[in-house]
């Protein structure tokens, strides 16, 4: 099928891998992306990497956003990236938000997480980055 028409809404999956129950941030981001005209598939809490990748493929999203506050990002994010590669879907950009130490953030970027937002990030910044990642050449 041809590339999606430019006027079609961006489809984005927002998911929380790991076991923490703090989804305020993910919900605020989901709403900001919605207000920017995106179709946000909100997958909710405690998603395994397998569930996240399955949802991303069934929903045919343009971009994936992961939120995590449990500290398990170094275990879970690379797993999501590996599963996407295995499914031939490594082109779907993944961004992340949460409490992620700088050193980990650098390593995750090298592994292929395209953008990482900490507590200081503005919604405007997150929306703009998501738009660029979804539309830009990947």
């Amino acid at each position: 099928m041809s590339p999606r028409p430019a006027k079609s809404p961006i489809r984005v999956l927002i998911a929380k891998p790991g076991l923490d129950g703090h989804d305020r941030g993910a919900k605020v981001v989901a709403r900001a992306l919605r207000d920017a005209g995106m179709e946000v598939i909100y997958a909710g809490l405690r998603q395994t990497p397998e569930e996240i990748v399955r949802a991303a493929l069934e929903e045919d999203v343009d971009i994936i956003g992961l939120s995590i506050l449990s500290g398990a990002h170094m275990a879970l994010f690379p797993k999501v990236l590996a599963l996407l590669r295995r499914e031939g879907a490594a082109r779907i950009p993944v961004f992340a938000g949460g409490i992620i130490p700088d050193e980990d953030a650098r390593r995750l970027r090298r592994l292929g997480i395209r953008a990482i937002f900490g507590p200081g990030a503005t919604l405007e910044e997150i929306v703009r980055t998501a738009q660029q990642l979804a539309r830009g050449p990947s």
Binding site: M1, S2, R4, P5, S8, P9, R11, A30, R31, L33, R34, D35, A36, G37, M38, E39, V40, I41, Y42, A43, G44, T48, E50, E51, V53, R54, A55, L57, E58, E59, D60, E87, G88, A89
Partner: protein, 321 residues
Amino acid sequence: MNRRPRLPAAAQALVSGDRRALARAITAVEDGDPGADAVLKALFARTGQATVVGLAGPLGVGKSSLVNALVGYLRARGRSVGIVAVDPSSPFTGGSVLGDRIRLERSADDTGVFFRSMASRGSVGGVASATRDVIRLLEAAGFSTVLVETVGSGQVDVAIHEVATTRVVVTAPHLGDEVQTLKAGLFEIADVFCVNKADLPGAEVAEKDLSELAALGTARDGWRPMVVRTSAIAPSGIEELWTAIEAHEAYRTASPDRLAAERRRLAAEIVERVRDRVAADLARSLDGEPSLAQLLDRVVERSLDPRTAAELVLAARARRR
């Protein structure tokens, strides 16, 4: 058996179980991508047999949880299930949050389930027609049971449920007295009423109200709606719900009007497609219509009314032809 003509690659992939091909074809339908037309044309012969259950009801009655319970029930009986969950798009930004997936509790490697969230996007007719096409894609991909979940408020949902073979209207205790059930719209389309959250007090009263409504009403196509009580979290009543759905399916497929109803539906679809094409062509050609610009100035200053202007535009086009 006749050999079927060869399918385009995207349709072939979808039929042979390629889930990403299915997901992409659904996106193409939603986007109005012309690529979807070729796939749908090629696959039409493989559709029309699926059980399509529409579930509609107000926000918060537990439709998504009920869908999850139904999926579990059907999977335990070896049936593959496609799910389409429609949520509204913002009329202001076009954005939406599609959250029905949250309730789905399936293991990530169960290929007998395909769940797709859909935003309503533009027009009422648009989403109903897209839903119909997505159901066809799911059926062609091997999902012989399709559940369609929508918020039950108003025209969009009634239009979407035209495409279902059995319509379940979901409600919950204490959503208002029985006068609510007299209002036109959603309650008129039900083949099955489902009082969910039966674990809460008041479920019996709600069931009684609906049973009376069903008994008093005019039977549509000779069918009187059945009423069941469920609890999606217990879960309980799920088997009774599916039994009621199957009873309606059996009634429908045995009905002597079945073919006539199918002819009516497909005739309406053809007319709708012709109309959409003519309307789109017309809108394009009116974009550069010379008489329109001139007349518009007069309409803006109120020296001409829009009705007369429309007649003059049509007359000018007829003269040129």
